[in-house]
């Protein structure tokens, strides 16, 4: 039976980046993906940030199936009836300097996996890896049901729901407080309508994030991203908070769509897909062992997700980690040594890259973001303050400071505010 240099489990951003890196270096690579086609099982918000895409695929601007380049961020605090937004537009020239771009997974994954095949890797879809072949304690390949596929190294990039990381002895199962659940609808609208409603044209795009009533005050948020001819509308909530408060994400997304500030944006749109996925959000605190004999783990399967509150970054970290894993295996192959010691190079490469640096910098963010005041009191307060400022009651007006004080009454103590601000400075 043929033995591959490397077997990659899962063809998401992490797996594709790893496979592409290795195949280009001439290694024999097998990529196994459980979806009927690549992307079939995957969903996300949709914003890709940072330069890593260009580093691995310099041609991506011409080729990648980008929906829109982000030039407008809107952050909103919402109560049941109000919505206070910060609207940041950036017209710093062309697509080239855009801070990020929006994609949909079906197209994105297919594009990446086609690249991987063109580089010489074998991609096999519709195959769910169920177990490993072990040689002593070392991983020596994978099993798909009764079929065996031997390989020198297995790169585990099977995403948030990895059952295999546990089987390989790299970690325990994730826990509900460390996970967020995301649900999303794709809502179809004509391109012109999207451009008019969101104030964009051509390839410009908008990322909107909402905090507050959209999650009934539970840790998380709502989002709307503009695609070419549809909107991605969704809600992300801490899983344990759903369970403890008897709240369903399927209800939250319905309420979100009905919110007076959201309804006009999606009016007359046709929902064409409903999806859900988990996100590991506790960063370094929940990270597993990243390697052992014959195996490396990257991406969501290793909790490499950066949540700073406003945005979620996982795809870019996954790709960077995939590249690092790929390069580690290239080095190991040159020495024909696939032991844990040889693969420890992976951790060093990750530490040098932005992956571990950013996760370290924001290591306090996950805990800070569990603070319920962010999702309840602050949206209530800021919106009450705005109401106070704009409300003409016919009586003599008070000055703004009084309005601010009044709006804080019974909601937030001054000391709490100071404390949270300090914590925020440390965490994010």
């Amino acid at each position: 039976m043929e033995k591959f240099d490397a077997i990659v489990v899962g063809a998401g951003p992490a797996g594709c980046a790893a496979a592409y890196t290795m195949a280009k270096a001439g290694l024999t690579v097998l990529v196994l993906e459980r979806g009927k086609y690549t992307g079939a099982k995957n969903m996300w918000g949709g914003a890709f940030f940072g330069p890593v895409m260009g580093e691995i695929f310099p041609e991506f601007r011409k080729e990648a199936p980008v929906e829109r380049f982000i030039n407008r961020h809107i952050i909103s605090f919402m109560t049941k009836e109000d919505c206070l937004s910060i609207d940041f537009k950036s017209y710093h020239g062309d697509e080239g300097s855009s801070p990020g771009f929006i994609m949909l997974r079906a197209k994105f994954d297919r594009w990446m996996s086609t690249k991987v095949e063109q580089a010489g890797a074998i991609l096999a879809t519709g195959l769910e890896v169920t177990d490993f072949i072990f040689d002593g304690s070392r991983v020596a390949g994978v099993k798909v049901g009764t079929e065996e596929f031997p390989g020198n190294v297995v790169i585990l990039t099977d995403g948030a729901n990895s059952l295999l990381a546990k089987k390989a002895g790299l970690r325990d199962d994730y826990k509900a407080p460390d996970l967020k659940q995301g649900v999303k609808e794709i809502i179809k609208l004509p391109r012109e309508v999207i451009e008019d409603r969101f104030g964009v044209s051509g390839s410009e795009g908008v990322v909107m994030e909402f905090v507050g009533a959209c999650t009934k005050g539970l840790p998380g948020g709502g989002f709307i991203y503009t695609n070419q001819e549809s909107l991605s509308v969704g809600v992300v909530v801490q899983l344990s908070a759903l369970l403890e408060n008897n709240v369903k994400a399927s209800d939250l997304i319905e309420d979100f769509k009905e919110h007076p500030s959201v309804r006009p944006l999606i009016r007359n749109g046709e929902t064409v897909e409903y999806s859900a996925h988990l996100i590991p959000v506790s960063g370094v605190a929940m990270m597993p062992r990243l390697y052992s004999g014959g195996i490396l783990v990257a991406g969501d399967a290793a909790a490499m997700v950066l949540g700073t509150g406003l945005i979620l970054e996982g795809a870019n970290l996954a790709m960077a980690a995939g590249i690092a894993a790929g390069n580690t295996v290239i080095g190991a192959k040159a020495l024909n040594d696939f032991s844990a010691l040889a693969l420890s190079q992976y951790e060093s490469l990750l530490k040098e890259s932005f992956v571990m640096k950013d996760l370290q910098t924001f290591r306090r963010a996950p805990h800070f973001l569990e603070n319920p005041r962010i999702y309840n009191d602050y949206p209530e307060w800021t919106c009450a303050m705005m109401r106070g400022i704009f409300n003409s009651t016919g009586k003599a007006r008070r000055n703004i400071l009084e309005v601010v004080k009044e709006s804080m009454k019974g909601k937030i103590g001054l000391m709490q505010l100071v404390g949270d601000t300090l914590k925020a400075r440390k965490a994010i």
Partner: protein, 265 residues
């Protein structure tokens, strides 16, 4: 046994309608981008039937598909299931051919291959459901054809075919070479194994164009199409529900009967 199987990529016929758009102006279906087409499910039955015959008595299976986008994808699938070889028929001259043009292309390919005992096709493609290509290939090659087969057996060079008819089934016997189209009553289609997919990925699949197979340019492409698509639209189903009641079931039934009888065809 030399078996030739013809397959076609189609938009997954089970896709919910929300996933694609019908452009009524251009008479076009716009599929979701990034989602590969599948082998037409009836054609997959033809591949399955070929594999069963091969398993019973040996032979070689060659798969043909005409098309550009996703032809490679479904060809690899057929090879992964266990077919031996494949040829992709691709040429700008073939594009937008109708059933007649496609049958011409496939018949010319079979002539070029030369040696064959049996040709298998799906009873119809799961996109337009025209169901003419199989019969036309047989016509062009001047060989007998049986359509909508439920099972095929080959005994001492004689084909025994059970075929679906309006009132049940019919059994035919005929000599080789022949062409048979397969119907869903044939049963389950196998799922390719992992190693099947790997060996399929490594196979070379030649691409043949008009000059390779010697097609007649006046018989392929949009200009040669015998069928013209006049209107493509999503039908609107109107459903009305009327509750028929009565003081007892007998009265309700009597009223219902009256209403049914009053409906004029």
């Amino acid at each position: 046994m030399e078996i030739i199987v013809c397959i076609k990529p189609v938009l997954d016929p089970d896709l919910p309608p929300a996933k694609f758009t019908v452009d009524g102006k251009k008479n076009e279906v716009i599929p979701p981008e990034g989602v590969p087409f599948v082998m037409s499910p009836y054609d997959a039955l033809a591949v399955e039937a070929a594999l069963r015959i091969k398993e019973a008595q040996g032979g070689k299976i060659t798969v043909l598909t005409q098309g550009t986008k996703y032809a490679e994808e479904i060809m690899r699938k057929a090879l992964a299931m266990g077919a031996d070889e494949g040829v992709i028929l691709s040429d700008p001259a073939f594009e937008d051919s109708d059933g007649f043009g496609t049958a011409h292309v496939l018949a010319q390919t079979v002539k070029k291959i030369g040696k064959f005992d049996l040709i298998l096709c799906g009873r119809q493609a799961a996109d337009w459901d025209a169901g003419v290509v199989g019969s036309l290939i047989a016509e062009y090659l001047n060989i007998p054809v049986v359509i909508r087969a439920k099972s095929i057996e080959v005994l001492d060079g004689v084909l025994k075919i059970e075929r679906i008819s309006t009132n049940g089934s019919e059994v035919f016997e005929l000599g080789l070479p022949a062409l048979v189209t397969l119907s869903s009553e044939m049963g389950q289609v196998r799922i390719p194994s992992g190693w099947g997919i790997i060996s399929a990925a490594k196979k070379q699949v030649p691409k043949w164009g008009a000059t390779d197979i010697g097609t007649d340019p006046s018989q392929t492409g949009a200009a040669a199409a015998v069928n013209r698509l006049v209107k493509l639209y999503v039908p609107v189903y109107e459903r009305k529900c009327e509750m028929v009641t009565g003081k007892d079931p007998a009265e309700a039934a009597a009223r219902l009967t009256e209403k049914i009888l009053a409906i004029k065809p």
